[in-house]
Assembly symmetry: C2
Homo-oligomer: 443 residues x 2
Amino acid sequence: MRSVIGSAVTVDPAVVESYRRDQSKLTSAGSPLCVVRARSIDDVRATMQWAHARRIPVVTRGAGSGLAGGANAVDGCVILSLAGLDQIIHIDVASKLATVQAGVVNADLARAAAASGLWYPPDPGSRDFSTIGGNVATNAGGSCCVKYGVTADHVARIKAVLPDGRVIHTGSRTRKNVAGLDIGSLLVGSEGTLAVIVEVTVRLRRAPGAMSTVVASFPDCASAIDAVIECAAVADPCVMEVMDRTTIRAVESMTRMGLDVESGALLLIRCDGADFAADAERCAAVCRRTAGEVWSTDDAEEGEAMMAARRMALPALERSGGVLLDDVAVPVPQLPGMMQSIDRIAERYDIRIGTFGHAGDGNLHPTIMFDETDPSQVSRAGQAFEAIVERAVELGGTIAGEHGVGVLKRAHLRLMIGDAELDLQSRIRQAFDPYKILNPGKG
Amino acid sequence: MRSVIGSAVTVDPAVVESYRRDQSKLTSAGSPLCVVRARSIDDVRATMQWAHARRIPVVTRGAGSGLAGGANAVDGCVILSLAGLDQIIHIDVASKLATVQAGVVNADLARAAAASGLWYPPDPGSRDFSTIGGNVATNAGGSCCVKYGVTADHVARIKAVLPDGRVIHTGSRTRKNVAGLDIGSLLVGSEGTLAVIVEVTVRLRRAPGAMSTVVASFPDCASAIDAVIECAAVADPCVMEVMDRTTIRAVESMTRMGLDVESGALLLIRCDGADFAADAERCAAVCRRTAGEVWSTDDAEEGEAMMAARRMALPALERSGGVLLDDVAVPVPQLPGMMQSIDRIAERYDIRIGTFGHAGDGNLHPTIMFDETDPSQVSRAGQAFEAIVERAVELGGTIAGEHGVGVLKRAHLRLMIGDAELDLQSRIRQAFDPYKILNPGKG
């Protein structure tokens, strides 16, 4: 292999070990053969040709920040890291498009867009370190998706390397394009199973203007979610986040921000656009009907300080030890039922669960806290995790909102996808990858 | 076949003949075996099972309003009409979703959404008669796509029948869903080649509020398109339409609206949202820099009257005889070059071409006028059509913006899609339809 792609390959056990897993918990990972740190698309092509000829599995990886084990090694695989493909190739201001290599970090793209007076909306929690390639491969979400859509809604073109090393281009620089099958949309969210995404052209928007922020504490989750639905009927908020009591208490205990630890749920709502102040006032008025306390501000710095509570949710819950971060979504009207079920599941398995998430699009991150050294707790955490995923599907939702399926939720796919769909999925994978070398056993 | 699906089948030659073609010009159509006018999903399943067992081709059809021959018969096929599947199944106000059968007409869905205070944005010119199934199968566009996106951006779930009669469900009712491959996005724009789309759940938005309309006449196309780019940088228009001089003159000659027949290009811009009046004033100010005349109005009725000029474009051009309506898109900054090329092509082939279209997303409809009884003109019209499509690709655009590929542009696919992509496309079709019975030779 070295003769083909030279020093990009390493078999150094320490390096290989550091590339074995992503950030997921309770997922299995195999032993890789080697790691290729690609520096060019030619490196990717050469790696694929080499692996394809030998039927050797290839696991593609960006920042390794995934939460579902999608980038975990399988035994005897090549780990193909695209982190070195980090060039921002072009920002086309007139067409509002940016072309970047797969290894560019989301926040770096966002900064480059901002420098041109433009904006790349998708804002996964990992945006400071996750890569665009990984964001596209998992169809990453975030907080502003409720108004601006997910990663899929921002992808115009993809350049990808097929398992046999051929390069394909999908999509168009134009907003409208109906020439041929939309292969690009199929690559989005395919978790490295169809092709290696090496370059992406994304759509940008005009830079957003000022925002207002509203924070309201509710007696319970049901009244908070009623307010979410009402706000979406009278305004067009760009952020609607929820935190349950367990999360509020964990954040307050860590930050001493002065959150109401007696409230049942906290909503954080932001409005942007020309009507931001009036929209926020409409949302605040909705909240006042049932909320205990409602704060709001048009000040950017104060708004950011309020949003800090939400950003602290996961770190605060993690202070109690191991956490298993789940990711389900249900239709918004089902959120109260889902949050109630999560509380019951916590009781049933005698384990603590703090829930927060993107209420505006029904996407929750129930966070199961457990002692990783206690086998009984580990087992109960796993059972609670399963029960949450099952309940989301029962409520008409999905097993995975924005973190992907990876290995973590492979078994759950059957809960929501039937035989005909699974069969079709496997035939489509076969069409791209006849020898099943790309990320086998994932997605 | 009658024993399986009864009276839904007809072989009456007059009926069969009326289902042979869509609205496209200069496209070939074969002779169907029969027509099935499905009244239920079971009729669709029975038809597919019958045809699959006998390897008989099936051409699915909604309103038959397509412009690329996508619904034209192939010899010995079953024409499967879904126009009878016209039930609006459910409008879910809290989740802003509508579930409809494939044969529901776009405007009927829009009206039902409006009755619930909601809005279905995609507005193809055919919306008064084209069906949602056809809109999804061709990924239909329209005028407001520049701000609100195309049909693909509004599809949440699809229920479809595979060639062997099995039913699949794609997508999710939730805004975020990353469980499994995005098969639904692949069905959008697949022109009846992968599965028969029988039911669609679309995303709705809050009803739009008031709008302002700006109309400006420019000395030439280049200055008009410069204004389009500037307007998109300072405002967020929901409509940006252009008409060239030939179109302006045809419309004026038909309507006597008082359009400036000496101007080189007309722009029609609409702004909505909270800031509609200020946004429109910003656009008007941009136009004033180079436009001859600029009119604007906040009045809904006056605005509609102004937009009538654009809606009259095709009927006005059609008054001169036969027209071949093209559909290309280029990056917006390339529009002046594209429009200049179209004029040169008209000169080269000594034929009249009027061009209008959705300038905001680079989507043009050059309309070639010719005498259908004059073989030389028919031939020159065809050559001009080819030349336009080739030029769009040279300028980094697409052979088909919103009308589909059908049979009309099958040969042009190679201009923009390489061997690896075509090979992949054919393998994907194979994965859905191993016997190639669904709309063979199309898309």
